[in-house]
Symmetry: C2
Subunit: 238 residues, 2 copies
DNA sequence: TAACAAACCTGACTTAAGTCAAGGAAATTA
DNA sequence: TAATTTCCTTGACTTAAGTCAGGTTTGTTA
């Protein structure tokens, strides 16, 4: 269960180039970048590894370099509410930096993943000395707040096929196939996880996918989704 | 409709004391406080006045000094999704400061309200010169992100009576009557708004209130809610 | 490659919550 | 105070989504 300490190797940071590519650190001087390397580590995790559990003592936050991470809460009755599906270059578990709490969520790898682990103390020191980082961080938080506001709006006012349409559309966009004659995505996460992210269960997701398919909007083949009628899909999503 | 410019008077800031009481500005020097007064205004709004509409050109953010504000989104089919119910000392519409967008939501007064309006340009200048403000702002954003994560969890995994229980509990806490033999609140917002905030409709809210009452958990009298069994209520909320 | 376990799908059924319609209470305005 | 509007409640009904149970497919591991 508590396998977030075994089974993952610490790799030395491949120079400061990795850091430079991250929006958060892109403007730092060489010295500051060196500082960052002193309190951060790149770690590799295997599929199904836990990075941390809800309630663990807070030690720092993460930036995903490669792979996919599921961030979720487990309620008292054992149900998983998926809060975020993290993709590369996004940070997570950075809220407790400023809240002084334990990890409020659980993070689990959905595939082999590479993450940058950044220690709380080191980072807070850095941020006090480099205010421009806090501005970047503010921008990042603002973006996420906006996304969360949208998520709340969707959850309160949209039915599941509509939320699904929106999800597929977003996936198509990040896959970069939006402009093709037949846009498509290969889902990188199990449908159970997508269901929990959309606030439903697999059965309902399965039926919603079928519904969209029957209506000629999409075509589903295992983990691949092909969009036949993107206009219709956009209409459902809004 | 567009009455956010008429009908509200601009009042001169009652010295710097108002600002000092706000967490965001509490550590500023006298000179900086004077600066803040130069690009901010206290305004009074009447019940049902709009502060801004979704899509309006962004000019700045707000801190509520007195009253209650409903922050919501209107979807294409005309439904209102209430995103926040703002209480005094909380700021709102600060996300677009860092996102460069128009107002993404609409803000409407639920009662006569006093707000501090802070201009985007002035504030951004100030924040560049006073990094400690950005740290306070980060703390504020972190707190809200955490609240939004909770909100998403509730919306995805809890039924309406449970969400309602949680809402009542929060209201009891802010009312400060939690420790009394019979904790109570007087709801400061119409039930329609509470319903939209909980992701449902008035009818269902009405029935959920009745259900909690029939189970002996609460007693409802118009806008007042009395808690008979706070243990039970807490249990429902978690 | 066989064997096992996840993940996924489908059908029959139940239930929570939404819709529609009507009437009553409360608050606002005349 | 009466009149009007907004807010709230209740009942009968519909529908979306959840539950339960079975079976299939897919993917892992031995």
């Amino acid at each position: 269960m508590n396998n977030h300490l075994k089974d993952n190797s610490t790799e030395s940071i491949d120079s400061k180039e990795t850091l430079r590519r991250l929006p958060l650190f892109s403007e730092l001087s060489i010295e500051d970048l060196r500082k960052v390397t002193s309190f951060s580590r790149v770690k590799k995790f295997q599929k199904n590894d836990f990075l941390f559990h809800q309630g663990d003592f807070y030690t720092g936050f993460y930036i995903l370099l490669k792979g996919t991470i599921k961030v979720y809460k487990v309620s008292s009755d054992g149900k998983e509410a998926v809060v975020h599906i993290i993709k590369p270059l996004n940070s997570f578990a950075d809220i407790p930096l400023f809240e002084g709490t334990d990890y409020p969520v659980t993070a689990k790898c959905l595939e082999e993943s590479l993450v940058l682990c950044i220690s709380k103390e080191g980072f807070l020191e850095l941020i006090y000395e480099n205010p421009e980082i806090s501005l970047r961080m503010l921008a990042g938080f603002a973006k996420r707040l906006k996304a969360m506001v949208n998520q709340v709006e969707d959850l309160t006012s949209k039915e599941i096929p509509n939320r699904l349409a929106k999800y597929i559309l977003k996936e198509i966009k990040t896959a970069g196939t939006e402009k093709l004659a037949e846009p498509f995505v290969k889902l990188s996460v199990p449908k159970t996880t997508i269901a929990a992210y959309l606030g439903t269960i697999t059965e309902t997701l399965s039926r919603s996918l079928k519904k969209l398919q029957d209506e000629g909007v999409i075509r589903v083949n295992g983990k691949s989704i092909f969009v036949n009628d993107i206009k219709r899909l956009k209409d459902l999503a809004k």
